[in-house]
């Protein structure tokens, strides 16, 4: 299945012929009777896992089944922030594995995912923030992850719209900057992985909802019951974010997850004004500017569990108030649209990428409010786990059993930050 490669020359020649020579980027597939492995969930993590299964583990008969359309869930709903400045060794290893893959992803996939290491700046507003961020910076340095301290004047120089006056409720006292952090085009990540996986023979089956997980006499996975019929396989990788509890319950597996709506919003498009990503966990502001010119703003989760893919307006308002104080220039901007995604949150706010008690059933979940940044790394180690039936050293700590054994990767509580 040779795909047209993308290059400057192709763009030029296609432009001269009225852009009519492009082919579909992936095939429209009917499910076959059986596969070596099936990934449930056609988001970035799932499509990426299928891609790495085909590319690095040489499985030849792989399918991705998706209830809706690919990239229509949280992959297309997040605020595209990428960073790896996590405190604990386990987290730093996982997220920095992803960041290293981001750096070469466009070349690897021959698809421009628009990874832009424009710098992620996390603002400190209190003495506690300063101490925590400096601790992060030292911990990161020990783990080979870049992160540096900026004074508030340096923060202002890095992000000119920032208000560093001391007359606001939570003045900016300084910031931690990860220069390798930044953004990527979220849709392109799904499309790029889909195209590259398809080129390696992966069947991408959209509009195919899983209705049951079939088990043999020993309890091992032997296939899936779907809205498009029965599909046989001995390996199923579940990568469905907010609906993980529902899919896993089909095999009797309970997971420590709760699903919450997480909202985001964008402004009307404006000329380039915002050169980086700014996060403030203390006042809950997450903001960057897309290449289209929209300010992309992340709001918080709603208080209660829900599957509605929407949330309350007051949750957005909370974030907007903080942004108006930090960036007074944006006060008169209009917001264009807002939306929600359903995120599955674990008790320690760290993901689960693991085998389950059911032979042949693997799960990649619990990314909570911060899964996009990890997409390539998560997909890569999940593919390894599925292919070898054992975790990659990087995801070995991210088990289900850690909750029973008291081995939490308690990043959220330790760092007092959102993800």
């Amino acid at each position: 299945m040779k795909r047209q490669g993308f290059s400057a020359l192709r763009l030029l020649t296609a432009g001269l012929s009225g852009q009519r020579s492009w082919q579909p980027q992936w095939r429209r597939c009917e499910p076959q009777a059986s596969y070596d492995a099936i990934i449930v969930g056609g988001g970035g993590h799932g499509l990426g896992a299928a891609y790495y299964l085909a590319k690095e583990h040489k499985l030849t008969r792989i399918a991705v089944v998706e209830k809706g359309w690919i990239g229509g869930g949280n992959t297309g709903r997040n605020t595209t922030i990428i960073r790896s400045n996590y405190l604990f060794n386990e987290s730093a290893a996982l997220y920095d594995h992803a960041l290293k893959l981001w750096e070469g992803l466009s070349q690897d996939l021959n698809y421009n995912v628009m990874y832009s290491p424009r710098g992620v700046m996390m603002l400190a507003h209190t003495v506690h923030d300063i101490q925590v961020f400096k601790r992060h910076i030292h911990a990161n340095r020990c783990n080979g992850v870049d992160n540096e301290w900026l004074t508030r004047e340096e923060a202002k120089a890095f992000c000119p719209p920032l208000n560093i006056e001391s007359n606001i409720r939570y003045p900016v006292l300084g910031a931690a900057l990860q220069r390798r952090g930044g953004t990527a085009r979220h849709d392109a990540v799904a499309w790029g992985y889909a195209r590259a996986a398809d080129a390696l023979g992966v069947d991408i089956i959209e509009n195919c909802e899983v209705k049951g997980i079939l088990r043999d006499a020993n309890g091992a996975v032997e296939g899936l019951e779907t809205t498009r019929g029965k599909i046989r396989t001995s390996k199923v990788g579940v990568s469905v974010a907010g609906h993980t509890s529902q899919i896993m319950s089909m095999a009797g597996v309970s997971l420590p997850l709760e699903s919450f709506p997480l909202q985001a919003l964008v402004s009307e498009p404006i000329k380039p004004i915002f050169p980086c990503v700014v996060m403030s966990n203390t006042v809950h502001a997450y903001i960057s500017q897309s290449d289209k010119g929209e300010l992309v703003i992340g709001a918080g989760t709603d208080a209660y569990t829900s599957y509605t893919q929407r949330g309350a307006l007051h949750t957005n308002l909370h974030t907007i108030e903080a942004i108006c104080e930090l960036f007074p220039a944006f006060r008169r901007m209009r917001m264009l649209r807002n939306w929600g995604g359903i995120v599955d949150v674990t008790p320690d706010r760290s993901p689960i990428i693991a085998k389950t008690a059911v032979p042949g059933l693997y799960v990649n979940c619990g990314w909570g409010t911060g899964g996009f940044k990890a997409t390539p790394g998560s997909a890569h180690v999940f593919a390894w786990t599925i292919a070898r039936d054992e975790p990659h050293p990087i995801n070995a700590p991210f088990t289900i059993e850690r909750f029973r054994d008291g081995l939490l990767i308690d990043e959220a509580a330790a760092a007092a930050v959102a993800h």
């Binding site: 609906h243 509890s245 529902q246 309970s254 997971l255 420590p256 997850l257 709760e258 699903s259 208080a303 209660y304 569990t305 829900s306 599957y307 509605t308 309350a312 307006l313 007051h314 599955d344 008790p347 909750f403 029973r404 054994d405 008291g406």
Partner: protein
């Protein structure tokens, strides 16, 4: 924003309330007899129901009392609220 019926104070906006998670989880009376797995289940496993979910709310900025609610997590409609100690009332699932 949800309009929540506090069983003590009546209808109030969601901002007056805090969410308390899944309802009707009883703390084990003899924790020392539990295995690690059972204790982890008590601490961490939640139903994460898609559909009618029994959950705790607290009227924090009102009477400050806890109560329970039945909410359909597919459309966020609160179908009933009831006092702590009462049984959840029978409700019909609403279309999304």
């Amino acid at each position: 924003m949800l309009l929540i019926h506090c069983p003590y104070c009546g209808d109030r906006p969601e901002l007056e309330f805090s969410y308390g998670g899944q309802a009707h989880i009883a703390r084990p009376t003899e924790p020392q007899t539990l295995s690690d797995g059972q204790w982890a289940s008590y601490l961490y496993l939640r139903s994460n129901t898609r559909g009618i979910h029994a959950e705790r709310w607290r009227h924090l900025r009102g009477c400050a009392r806890f109560f329970n609610a039945l909410r359909d997590t597919t459309n966020d409609r609160i179908l009933a609220t009831y006092r702590v100690g009462e049984q959840p009332p029978a409700v019909a699932e609403t279309p999304p």
